[in-house]
Symmetry: C2
Subunit: 335 residues, 2 copies
């Protein structure tokens, strides 16, 4: 466990150490007159891109689009061309859809960046610029640090985004702060696991920068790693359908960040607590994150939630005696 | 029932009859130099916009974005401005998030279009251009016809989209063809209801132009109207998490269109039928749609699926003795 935490911190530090290289790459890229940014990934790699899409939509005058890579390949957006930047991620570097997306983008003359854990993977070889994470396990937060370095760097250059240094300074606190989040989350995670160990159906709820975490926690953790039904529900959509299934037996895992999505999530909580007691609320405000400017806390939403949720996953897997590494199909049978 | 079908056809014909007015409106709008199109809606109204977003992404050189209206309001995209067109829909015309979206867009100088069933609703009064559907019940397909008329009209003007007439001619067949789809779906829908009446958990799966239907069927029908757990899963994401919960007891409702999403959906079927027999596959190819050019069938994917699914909903509600009109909260309690 202690070793895991050190590995985790190392992977974050490694991501932070790529900043100079990323800034240099972005300056070089922007000589190509980038007019749109396309993110393509699958599952957990896509989920972290949702936050990047939101941040760019809010702050940038160039359009940003996040796609499931398989869908991107079949859709082949008309805007894809020599003024596009495709940003991809795949931990193994072998995800076929992601590698195909890179091929398609290159054929159209787009610039390509890839994040992967493997230097000698197909993805590393295919993209114009590769950034490696040296994470031994899940690389999500390390990748997200580098994604932030890229998008904020683009926005600094193209949109005169003034808070670049403040965002970077906030990211620099993550190796210490996220380790602390994990410690602080330990007891709540334990309580969660005890209380919910026999449940088989969940809704996970988020909006804005907590949406990607709600999405990933449902499909990549509860479904993929625990074989439990878990539906990710966007807080803005909750009142237009899903809330009708909520009664005293519903189990809601609600993710509350400090970004623009917060009021949408608060509305879900205000309503739902009248009808079920089975609300698990993770609020980034519960974590002090020392050294982070108040105004920057919103951007750290996905990091803090992901670090806390790691503990929830760990404790749930332990008490259910269902290790997070077990798969029925993934990597075991052809598909 | 016969009356319902006539009402349904009338609402489609009414939507088709708006074409001249819509073409005129688009020509007028484009004098404003529209540089991006934003769709904002909630639940079922948002779901049909997903198809429009996809079609524009594939065929248009101006960016298109579909947002949950509540999220749009909090995000307030930087690209929103006097060169934006906001397209909204709300059957009642009273959805607060949607009306707020219109206010925000107008403050930023954007042009606004609204679809609603009520001439004297707030939405009707707020938007620059209103188009009424005269549907007595669900207005989804009528709204989608008008949405298609708008986006294809925009693409004809801005992108030289050459198949405008062919698309419009395909839409003209819908009053007859969708009535026929409903008849043809009747027996399959009956079998579905018999077989699945006691199930409480579903996955609905789609991609491309079937994705909006998969999304809406899960959240607006199975959850909102039948109080059953139903998770919409994008076919491209299925293999990156959700498929791990699939065993012989999983219930999959799989929507197969004839657009770019088809191969993604086929992959889900090829895999899943090895592990569960409980696959309900709706394939638009099962419906002849006479008079529709082969190349245009893809665009009709959401219409054909929606018409067929109407029957599935009707039969399921009947056999479960749970009318589609019953709500726990919607329109009953404050939220």
């Amino acid at each position: 466990m202690e070793n895991n935490l050190l590995d985790y911190q190392e992977s974050l530090k490694h991501a932070l150490s790529q900043r100079d290289e990323i800034e240099k790459t972005v300056k070089e890229l922007l000589k190509r007159d980038i007019k749109n940014v396309i993110f393509a990934g699958c599952g957990g790699s896509l989920a972290i891109m949702f936050s990047c899409e939101y941040i760019m939509r809010q702050n940038s005058s160039i359009p940003a689009f996040a796609y499931n890579a398989g869908e991107f390949n079949k859709l082949c957006p008309k805007l894809l061309g020599k003024n596009s930047l495709l940003i991809t991620a795949s931990y193994s570097g072998t995800t076929p859809e992601t590698n195909e997306a890179v091929q398609i983008a290159k054929e159209k003359g787009a610039a390509t960046i890839g994040f992967t854990g493997k230097a000698d993977s197909p993805l590393s070889k295919n993209v114009d610029y590769v950034f490696l994470n040296n994470a031994k396990t899940g690389a999500t937060n390390a990748n997200l640090i580098m994604l932030y370095e890229i998008i904020f760097s683009i926005m600094r250059e193209l949109d005169g985004f003034e808070k670049y240094d403040a965002v970077m300074q906030a990211l620099d606190t993550l190796p210490d702060n996220l380790a602390e989040v994990k410690k602080l989350a330990e007891e709540k995670a334990e309580n969660f696991a005890n209380e919910y160990k026999d449940e088989t159906k969940f809704l996970t709820i988020g909006a804005g920068l907590s949406w990607g975490e709600a999405y990933a926690y449902a499909i990549c953790i509860l479904e993929e790693m625990q074989w439990l039904y878990a539906q990710p529900v966007h807080a803005g959509e909750y009142f237009h359908g899903p809330f009708e299934i909520v009664d005293e037996n519903a189990n809601l895992i609600i993710l509350k960040g400090e970004d623009f999505g917060r009021p949408l999530v608060e509305r879900v909580i205000d309503f739902s607590q009248k009808y079920t007691k089975r609300l698990v609320i993770l609020d980034t405000k519960d974590y002090p994150l020392p050294g982070v400017d108040e105004e920057m806390r919103g951007y750290l939403t996905p990091f803090a939630l992901s670090a806390a949720l790691d503990k929830y996953s760990e404790k749930l897997a332990e008490i259910r005696n269902h290790p997070l590494s077990i798969r029925r199909y993934m990597g075991k049978v052809p598909y």
